[in-house]
């Protein structure tokens, strides 16, 4: 896949060798992560990132034959918004990015992301291995 291709343009034969090809369709998920300009440097280059207020990370979940299922967002809020989550707000939106279905400061999102407290609560397993994770 070229960088210009949108995730829904992935052809089935391109992933035939992955686990997705043998998993049931509704559990075959692919994640594509985007970061806005405010959070770009922290995400892409900083070894111990401290994301600025206003940073937004979007994780797009797609499934073959269905398209975008939903969007998971992390939004960096002002200081003291939620110390337990590094002032991140976790948001679930529908796949069309038109409706907020859930938003939380803590809960299951925070419980998992707290493992990355040293990285400002952000998993960067999606990054190319350039020594940042």
């Amino acid at each position: 896949m070229t960088p210009e291709q949108k995730p829904e343009e992935i052809k089935p034969q391109e992933v035939v060798a992955t686990e997705a090809a043998i998993a049931p369709p509704h559990t075959s998920l692919f994640a594509t992560v985007y970061v806005n300009e405010i959070g770009r440097q922290a995400m892409m280059t900083n070894v111990r990132p401290a994301f600025p207020v206003g940073s937004v990370i979007v994780r797009e979940s797609t499934s073959l034959g269905i398209g975008v299922l939903d969007l998971l967002l992390m939004v960096k809020r002002a200081k003291d918004f939620s110390p337990a989550s590094g002032d991140w707000e976790f948001i679930l939106m529908d796949g069309k990015a038109t409706k907020i279905e859930m938003r939380e400061k803590t809960g299951s999102c925070q419980a998992c992301h707290v493992a990355q407290k040293d990285n400002d609560f952000v998993f960067r397993t999606y990054l190319p291995d350039i020594g940042l994770r």
Partner: protein, 75 residues
């Protein structure tokens, strides 16, 4: 009971029924007019507009990453 009394009772009953129906019809229209239109005045969350162009942002992973374990994953 005389025929006249029965007739008067019928007229009274019909009149009372009509008045009651008119009252409830008017009340129903009045309450409908005062009810707010559903969802029409709900303001759109600014976040929806803020992320509307998220696909033009920096893409972190060059290839979509396969995720095991359902909808909720890590970002």
């Amino acid at each position: 009971m005389s025929t006249l009394t029965v007739r008067r009772a019928k007229v009274f009953f019909l009149g009372a029924t009509l008045v009651t129906l008119c009252f409830f019809a008017s009340f129903s229209r009045l309450t409908q007019a005062q009810s707010p239109a559903p969802q029409a005045s709900t303001p759109e969350d600014p976040l929806v507009k803020q992320i509307s162009d998220y696909r033009t942002w920096t893409r972190v992973n060059a290839e979509p990453q396969f995720v095991i374990g359902g909808r909720r994953g890590r970002s």
